[in-house]
Each structure stands twice: as structure tokens, then as C-alpha cells.
Amino acid sequence: MDGLELLIAASLNAGTALAIAGIGLLINERAGILNLGAEGMMLVAAIAGFATAVHTGSPWLAFVVGMLAGAALSACFGVLVIWLNTNQVATGLALSIFGGGFSAFVGIPYVQEKLGEQTQFQIPLLADIPFFGPALFRQHPMVYIAIALVAALAWFLYCTRAGLVLRAIGESPESAHALGYPVRRIRLMAVLAGGAMCGLAGAYISVIYTPLWVEGMIAGKGWIALALTTFATWRPARVLLGAYLFGGVTMLQFYLQGRGVHVPSQFLSMLPYLSTVVVLVLISRNAAWIRANMPASLGKSFFPGS
């Protein structure tokens, strides 16, 4: 790959899945639920989407199936964590481990499969602008849908009453319960929405981004998406920004290799993971600031006493 505009284009592409998963997790965390099962949900959605695309040839159907798969898994998680009050960290981990095993198991017949020809998308007129055209306007529609989703979520959270209720629940489920809001039901809806988003991201990865299936192909993007919510201090627009930055870091390896930089490929591959660590360190340094921005009930069990 050469040319900065191609790097930008690739970063947008790479960041889209992260952004979608990121806002899914954001919805969860705004309601106070920490879902560490993102990686597992994305894996299962990836194979579900890929299999759908293989059998039906329709990427859009694959996206829908991916969303359903993500939502179904997150429903199991949600019931355990919201109604049975299991430890959120352990349950999320269980979901990730299970998702890893289950997707590997179900995906065995699909390992060598290929999807049909990928059509090249571009926005007419805009795609021909020098530099910005190739950089920004020759993307799969999902890239633009992701941006729209982020905007929609920001509007929902900050301009609607339902969004206010969600934020209130994330801060103090006890107070919301005392006021009569169905806290558990709303949390479940948040979990389902989050699961669907993670599923969409997973399906996007296996159907559009790298159209193939390999065991473990999500390669940690679910975990990076979790780091993203902290990096973004739980604000949708910053999730998008962070996702593109990470996408850029991921693509940097190929860019550098194309430029003839002689670093062993393994070290370049480490870049996304190391930069996640760096970002976490930078953001978390001011613990008081994090505490002021984090949904106060995040990760804690809620017991509607009675």
C-alpha cells in the first residue's frame, strides 16, 4: 500500500468494525453493565454472518444474522447478570471463552470457503475529488452507516428522555428503581442492543473486511473495543474517533511494510495491542477524572430490594 490517502481509506475501513462494537459496548456501559463477552459475541457473529453469506450470497442478510447472533448471546449474558446477579466480569469472560470455542466448532466446515466477488463501492462525484475522494468516499456503505449510528446514539443519549433515563440508570439503578423505572428490563434492552452492535461488527469483519473464516479471526478487536469506551470517556463521538485512530494503527503495519521499513512483521503486528495499552495508560492516569465520567454503577450488581 502506498499513498497516504489509501492509508486513510484503510483506516476508516478497519476502524468501522471497532466503532460499531464500541458503541454497542457504550450502550451497555451507560446502563451500568460491563460486558466482557464482546470478543466471543463478535466471533460467533462472524461465523454466523460468514456462513449466511456463503449460503445466500447476500452480505446484508449476513449482517442481520450477525446481529441476531450477537443479541442471542448477549441475552444469555443479560439474564445471568441482571436477574441472577452473577459477577459481571466472570460472566463476560465465560461468554468470550464460550464464543471462542463455539465459533471454532461451528466454523470448521467453512475454513476454506470463499465469498463471491466484492463490488467496489464509491459515492458518485465525491469519489473523484483528488486525495479526499480515494481517502474518504470509496468505502462500503457500512462505513457511513457506522457514522450515522454514532450520531444517532449521541442524539439518543443527550437529546431524548429515554436516553436520560438510561444514563440515570447507569448512574444509580437504586434511585431509578425507587422512582419506579423498570431498571432490569431497560438494562436488558441495553444489553441486547449492545449485543446486536457487536454482532454487526463481527459480521462486517468476516464478510467485508477480510472475507474469510479462520478460528479466532477477531484477534482481540472485541477487547480493543472495550478499551475504546474508556478511551472515549463514554461519549459516542469519541468512540468513533478512537476507532479510526486504532484502525490507523492497525493499518500502519502494512503501510510501513510497503514503504520498505525493515522491522520484523511480528513487531508491527504488535502495534494495535501496544497502542491499546498506551492509550489506556494515558487516559486512566487521572483516576479522579475517570471516576467523574464513568457511569457510577458500572460493573456493580443491582438488587431491587424488597
Binding site: 471463552i97 471462542g100 471454532a104 511480528q266 438488587f303
Partner: protein, 376 residues
């Protein structure tokens, strides 16, 4: 409607029954899975639960698999009880293998005088390697409040890539036909076997001794008590004067060291060399072992053997029944899931509650409507 009622006291009976119930549910789902896949469920169960245990050879194989799981899980138990969530044991395991492997590769004519005692520096290097990798997580959490779950996990990927670079590059066996692998370690570095002819090695003894030590540490020392209070009620720990920072470091260093020890044992034992396949997922399986074992040293022995049953059963099911090995992962994940669900029964009772309204009472909407009518 089913309701959950808090128990006044956590039930000790359910504490022990819960893993068994979870296992039963997992087995049940397994049976259904076998049936869907068109295989005889009974044969499937036989592969998983009978074949691996039916002779001494099988038991030896079980112990080989169980040893690293138990070791890592012991360390994780201490960590999780302190509310420090080390998820990167797999990465610390790899670093332990790297450390132990490096010392193993230094073996040669100059070290022959040590005989089999050479194993000791290998294992020490493993412990130090794992501790080093975990210390990074501790440092970042201590100094910068960076979330240890995400940092330790990211470091797993980094460790894996590092291993890949080393066995493809600087540490590659010059006579290995360009395969990504190190030299085969010399016989001197091999772990002494427990019974000649079987693969069970002294690692098992190390694990059992560790179980005793950890039990004493957790339940009979003030340090262990302080760690657990930190995990159960951080405000109480602060009140008592227990240092959260020391709990963080102790938890991570211990679990990192144990994972590193397991890695070195595997490298010097069953593997005998370093390859990109060193990470076998033990670091993650150990998380399940720790939980199913109730974060208790004795329970971990049982759950460690149970998990090895899953591993070996999976291998047997693949070779003899043509079932994919990935089944093991499915069962492991399922087991943890069902365990977490069953664990609620320790703290809650299930009650059947009827939500019938008191007799004769009208619905609020009706009352409001009639009041409005009266006031109109």
C-alpha cells in the same frame, strides 16, 4: 412467578453442590450436542469420562494435562479473591516458557555437572519470566490506574507475537530446516518422570505441594486474610489498614509466577522445545478451573482434573469418533456459564410466589377514573 430470595447466610451445601450441578447440566447439553451431530451420545460420554481414566496410562496423561492447569489456577485464585482480574495468564505462561526455554537452551557440556538438578534453574527462570510479564500489568495499574483486565489481555497477544518472532528468528534451530522451532532441549533438561514409561513428571508433585502451600496462605495467614478482605469489601480493607497496592502486586506476581512456572514445566517437560504452539490455551482454561474449583486450592485439584478430562476426551473424540477438537472449548465455556448460573443458588433461594392481588381491590386506573368522574 419465580422469585429469588436472599439467604441470610450463604449456603455451604450449595457451595459444593453448585459445580456438580453445573457439570450435570453441561453433560446434558453435551449429550444433546452429540445427538445433533449424529454421533452416539453414550459413546461420546464414554470418550470424555471413561476412556481417559480407565488405566494408569490414562491417569498419567490426565496428570500431565492437569498440572499446568492446577498451577495457574492456584495463582489466579489468589488474584481473583483479591479482586485483581488477571486475564493474561496465557501471556505470563508464554513468558515462563520463554524464560525456562532460554535456560534450557544454554544446557551443554558446561552444565553437565549439575545433572538433573539443572531443571531447577529452568523452573526458576520460568517463574521469573511470568512474574516479569505480570509485573508490567501491576505497574501500569499501580501508577496509572490502567485496567488490568485489558492490559493483561493485550499483553497476551504481544507475548504470542514475541514468541513467534523468536522461534522464527534469533532462537530458530539452525538445523531445523527453517521450521519455526528451537532446538530440542537436551536430555539433561527434561523433567524427571514419576514412573518410568509414563509421561507423568514431577510437575505433579510440585502442583500438589503448591496446593498445600496456597491453602495455608489463603486460610491461615494474615496476609492471605488481608488479600481476601480487599476483594470482598475494599472499604473494610482500607479501614483495617490493608494495603490495596500490596494486594495488587502480590496477586499479580503470584499468579504471574505460577503461570510462568507452568510454562517452564511444559517447555521442559512434554514439549521439549519451543514452537509457536506453546500457548495451548491453558491460561484461559485455568480461569475456568479456578472458578469451578470455587477459588479454593482443594477444589482446584478436582476441577483441574475435570478440565483435563475435557481436553483428553476431546482428543479421543476426535481420533475415534471424528468429532472436532473444538468441542472441548465449547464444553469449557459452557461449564463456566452454567457454574455462574448455579452459583446464584448459594446466595439465593428460589421461591414460587403468587402475585395475586388482595381480594376486592380495584385497579388504580379504575379508582383514578372514578375519582375524576366524581370530581367532575
Amino acid at each position: 412467578m419465580l422469585r429469588l430470595e436472599t439467604r441470610p447466610q450463604p449456603s455451604k451445601v450449595m457451595s459444593m453442590a453448585s459445580p456438580l450441578i453445573a457439570l450435570a447440566v453441561t453433560v446434558l447439553i453435551g449429550v444433546v450436542l452429540f445427538w445433533i451431530l449424529g454421533k452416539d451420545p453414550l459413546r461420546g460420554l464414554q470418550m470424555f469420562f471413561y476412556e481417559p481414566m480407565k488405566n494408569v496410562y490414562g491417569l498419567a496423561e490426565l496428570s500431565v494435562k492437569a498440572t499446568p492447569l492446577i498451577l495457574i489456577a492456584l495463582g489466579l485464585a489468589v488474584c481473583y479473591r483479591s479482586n485483581v482480574w488477571n486475564i493474561g495468564a496465557e501471556g505470563q505462561y508464554i513468558f515462563g516458557a520463554l524464560g525456562g526455554g532460554w535456560v534450557a537452551m544454554q544446557a551443554g557440556p558446561g552444565t553437565e555437572w549439575m545433572g538433573h538438578a539443572y531443571v531447577i534453574p529452568i523452573l526458576l527462570a520460568g517463574v521469573l519470566g511470568g512474574m516479569f510479564w505480570a509485573a508490567i500489568v501491576a505497574l501500569l495499574r499501580d501508577r496509572f490506574s490502567a485496567n488490568e483486565i485489558l492490559v493483561s489481555l493485550m499483553l497476551v497477544y504481544v507475548a504470542d507475537l514475541l514468541l513467534g518472532w523468536l522461534v522464527n528468528g534469533p532462537w530458530q534451530d539452525p538445523n531445523g530446516h527453517n521450521f519455526p522451532q528451537t532446538i530440542n532441549f537436551l536430555a539433561q533438561t527434561k523433567l524427571p518422570r514419576l514412573i518410568p514409561g509414563l509421561r507423568a513428571h514431577i510437575g505433579l508433585l510440585v502442583a500438589l505441594v503448591a496446593v498445600g502451600c496456597f491453602w495455608v496462605f489463603l486460610f491461615r495467614t494474615y496476609r492471605g486474610f488481608a488479600l481476601q478482605v480487599g476483594g470482598l469489601a475494599p472499604a473494610a480493607a482500607r479501614y483495617a489498614g490493608f494495603s490495596a497496592r500490596s494486594a495488587l502486586w502480590v496477586g499479580l506476581l503470584i499468579s504471574g509466577g505460577m503461570a510462568g512456572l507452568a510454562g517452564a514445566l511444559e517447555a521442559a517437560g512434554p514439549l521439549g522445545q519451543l514452537t509457536p504452539y506453546v500457548p495451548a490455551g491453558y491460561g484461559f482454561a485455568a480461569i475456568i478451573v479456578a472458578y469451578v474449583g470455587r477459588l479454593h486450592p482443594v477444589g482446584i485439584v478436582f476441577s483441574g482434573f475435570l478440565m483435563s478430562l475435557f481436553y483428553i476426551g476431546g482428543e479421543l473424540a476426535q481420533s475415534r469418533l471424528g468429532l472436532p477438537k473444538a468441542l472441548t472449548g465449547v464444553f469449557q465455556g459452557l461449564l463456566l456459564f452454567t457454574l455462574l448460573a448455579c452459583d446464584t443458588l448459594i446466595f439465593y433461594r428460589v421461591r414460587w410466589r403468587s402475585s395475586a392481588a388482595p381480594q376486592g381491590a380495584s385497579r388504580v386506573t379504575a379508582v383514578v377514573a372514578s375519582t375524576a368522574a366524581k370530581e367532575a
